[in-house]
């Protein structure tokens, strides 16, 4: 009995001691203002509220917060977290102790408040340690898949992280893990997907995948080149990044395409790894992946090395460029018929030429398999025959490597643009102001961007006519996309454009109308970087000033587009439109030239002549564009 009393006494003493130490830590944290510290706020993804005082976390899973009101109360969450660290229990395969579940919080608070391990015993986190050992991190690499062929909106891109392990060489980066933040959905309807995604309709989740799966997805299936930026995080920062990724692995964030997207979350994750950068603060409204890459790499010394991983389509282009046209044609024929007569002709070539033809044929067959969705029955026997043929030729000395573009995407111009200009319309002088939050048009400095791909969002232009004391909206284009993808014997993409805008139109008597218009056709590369294109366009206009309140229009567009050297871009063309409800035709010729003056500045000359019924309307302007 006495022994029992003594035991109970000791137990309660231990309990009291624990409570004492918890109180001690909680008040130490309070007096040091830990809950308001940036590192703590970043760990819980709390952001200051826009209007009211206080904070709200971007994390949406209740399991991420230990305090009932943790999502909006960093202090309560800190108290609850400290209390949970004292909790009983050992890890099981299905349950983690809070010290392990929230290992980044634990490690940070342990250091910040100098935990006494005698009074707050440290738990062993077997699951985390096994996971960490499997990833075996040496360095973190920021991965940026560039635009798809013929898909300008993908130039907004995606970013993910790769964790390179200690056992790897540069030749074996395929075998590392990728940390990816993505919307979780089975939605296959692109419009529903986009619409819901804009408003946070899907949960966003972190996941981990072998990197080779991502390479397959981007390089091979989507034909996107990949840029790999090896970052110089210290070992401690890398460990913190993974500890925090571990915490986030089970947490929902609402996924917003424009703001709280993959790139934003990766920036927030890197902010936890290297406190004090606060990069996420720079993307309060929207986070364009290439902008987040640019911002990440701004810090002196953070970029260890950049590496270009070409897509299959880029590799094919490079191979074709190295062959004479008859040999390139032979490669196409061989891809379709690798055991027939093209094989005989290939084997008659010198070994290095035969090798080049056979390798191109295989890559092209794989390209066609994906692009044309060819059945396996067609592809597999041909693929095997091509590789057997290749294996009978001498082994390769060195890989065929397309050169990396001279300018990386992160070195291109900033995606926001402001322009100031002056000009004359129909003899009337004006000054002009334009504002475009994102992203790139054909006349903008080309370096670092996909050629022939334009995507503008919310492009606004207004003019001031001092003689008439008149301010006029020229256009407000919500979206304005152009894709000029050259066709050749290997690739036959469709070129297209689409615009949705409020726009000042001559046909409406220089009134602003709402319009959705687009076109489709083909582009051909006449000489390197000189394109000719032809499209059929269709147009819908709506405004009360039109006779019926609306009109349709259709007609052809012909043009040339050229990148001359590094600094000059030219676009010129002619279009005709027949307006169905207005019983009138309109023809227009236009020429635009953009000249890069400095890294973030360009000069632009625009001329157009519109012929409508019996009048000619001349419009010309010169403007200076700043990118940031």
């Amino acid at each position: 009995m006495r022994r029992l009393i003594l035991f109970a006494f000791l137990l309660s003493c231990a309990g009291l001691a624990r409570a004492d130490y918890l109180n001690e830590l909680q008040s130490a944290a309070r007096s040091a203002g830990v809950a308001g510290q940036r590192e703590w706020l970043d760990l819980g993804h709390w952001r200051p509220n826009a209007l009211l005082p206080g904070y709200t976390s971007l994390a949406d899973a209740h399991g991420f917060f230990l305090a009932p009101g943790g999502k909006t109360d960093p202090q309560a969450e800190l108290d609850a977290t400290l209390a949970a660290f004292f909790g009983p229990g050992e890890e099981t395969p299905t349950w983690q102790h809070p010290q392990c579940r929230f290992i980044a919080r634990y490690q940070w608070l342990k250091e910040r408040l100098a935990f006494d391990p005698a009074r707050l015993p440290e738990k062993h986190c077997a699951r985390f340690e096994a996971w960490y050992a499997a990833i075996d991190p040496r360095q973190v690499t920021l991965i940026f898949p560039a635009a798809y062929l013929n898909n300008p909106s993908s130039s907004f891109g995606h970013t993910l992280l790769r964790v390179d392990n200690t056992q790897q060489s540069e030749a074996t980066r395929l075998y590392s893990y990728a940390i990816n933040f993505a919307a979780e959905t089975d939605e296959t309807n692109g419009v529903v997907f986009a619409a819901k995604g804009l408003f946070g309709g899907y949960p966003g989740l972190f996941s981990i995948t072998p990197y080779y799966e991502k390479v397959k997805e981007y390089n091979d299936l989507e034909n996107r080149d990949i840029w790999e930026y090896e970052l110089a995080f210290t070992p401690a920062e890398t460990r913190r990044l993974l500890e925090h990724a571990w915490e986030l692995g089970q947490v929902n964030f609402d996924y917003y395409f424009l703001s709280e997207n993959c790139s934003y979350q990766l920036v927030a994750l890197m902010d936890v790894a290297r406190p004090g950068r606060h990069l996420a603060d720079r993307f309060p409204g929207w986070a364009i992946p290439s902008d987040t890459v640019r911002a990440t790499l701004e810090e002196e010394g953070l970029l260890r090395r950049a590496h270009f991983r070409p897509s299959n389509a880029t590799l094919i282009r490079h191979r074709v460029a190295g062959l004479t046209p008859p040999l390139a044609r032979l490669a196409r024929e061989l891809a379709a018929d690798p055991e027939g007569e093209p094989r005989t002709r290939t084997l008659a070539l010198a070994p290095d030429q035969a090798t080049a033809v056979a390798e191109l044929a295989y890559d092209y067959l794989q390209y066609r398999r994906v692009d044309e969705d060819l059945p396996r029955d067609y592809v597999a026997p041909r693929a095997l025959a091509l590789l057997r043929l290749r294996s009978t030729l001498p082994a390769a000395d060195a890989p065929v490597t397309p050169p990396a573009p001279a300018v990386r995407p992160d070195q291109g111009h900033g995606t926001a643009r402001v322009a100031l200009g002056a000009g004359a319309r129909d003899g009337e002088g004006f000054t002009e102001l334009r504002v475009r939050p994102a992203y790139h048009d054909l006349i903008d400095p080309q370096a670092g961007y996909a050629p022939g791909a334009q995507i503008n969002f919310f492009d606004l232009a207004g003019r001031w006519y001092p003689d008439e004391d008149d301010f006029e909206l020229r256009w407000f284009r919500f979206v304005d996309i152009v894709s000029l993808s050259p066709r050749d014997d290997f690739f036959q993409p469709l070129s297209w454009r689409i615009t949705a805008a409020f726009e000042n139109r001559a046909v409406a008597g220089d009134e602003v109308v709402f319009t959705v218009n687009g076109g489709a056709g083909g582009t051909w590369e006449w000489r390197p970087n000189v394109y000719g294109f032809a499209m059929l366009e269709a147009d819908v206009l709506a405004d009360d000033s039109l006779a019926k309140g609306y009109s349709f229009a259709a007609g052809p567009l012909l043009g040339v587009y050229a990148n001359v050297g590094e600094d000059l871009n030219l676009l010129a063309g002619a279009r005709a439109r027949r307006y169905t409800e207005l019983w009138t035709n309109e023809t227009e010729v236009f020429a635009q030239a953009g000249f890069t003056l400095a890294d973030h500045m360009a000069l632009r000359l625009e001329l157009s002549a519109t012929h409508l019924e019996h009048t000619n309307l001349l419009d010309g302007s010169l403007s200076l564009h700043w990118y940031f």
């Binding site: 074996t172 981990i208 997805e217 692995g249 395409f257 057997r388 294996s391």
Partner: protein
């Protein structure tokens, strides 16, 4: 009017999988595998419904049963999973006797740097014996490669 504008915007955005990536393959079936709650059933489901070899010309792999609870690949299946998931690239690399996928395979098989050239040459010279048909599976490729290595005096110690 506003509606039209928004659907145009939505259309523009949806023409790329801009930002969002819907599919996860390999070990990570998104969060499910990463998430401690998942257990084995969703992983089996992942292996059957979202297998890694659907997008390839060659071979069907045994699936992703080697995933750990937290999304990494357990060491026993590293080699077979990599092979299964990279059959097209491995086939192309072996036919040339070099390449990134082949380098990685050599590492996973524990081939030392001094022996890599011989290993690459062996895959090139014996391509027919490794990729025996267009229906060859990852398991068969590994078994065939082991036979080739076993028959090679220099490389026999790497045969499993």
């Amino acid at each position: 009017m506003k509606k039209i504008a928004f659907s145009a915007l939505a259309l523009a955005l949806s023409s790329g999988t801009a930002f969002a990536q819907q599919n996860n393959v390999g070990c990570g079936l998104g969060s499910m595998v990463f998430d401690g709650q998942s257990g084995i059933a969703p992983q089996v489901l992942a292996a059957t419904t979202n297998g890694t070899s659907g997008n390839q010309t060659f071979g069907i792999t045994s699936g992703t049963l080697g995933c750990t609870q937290d999304g990494t690949v357990s060491s026993t299946v590293k080699l077979s999973m990599f092979t299964g998931s990279n059959m097209d690239k491995l086939a192309a690399d072996m036919s040339k006797g070099q390449g990134e996928a082949l380098e990685t395979l050599a590492d996973l098989m524990g081939v030392e740097s001094a022996d890599k050239a011989a290993f690459f040459a062996a895959t090139h010279d014996n391509f027919d014996k490794v990729f025996t048909s267009s229906n060859v599976t990852a398991e068969e490729v590994i078994a065939n490669l082991n036979k080739v290595l076993a028959a090679d005096a220099e490389l026999s110690r790497y045969a499993a």
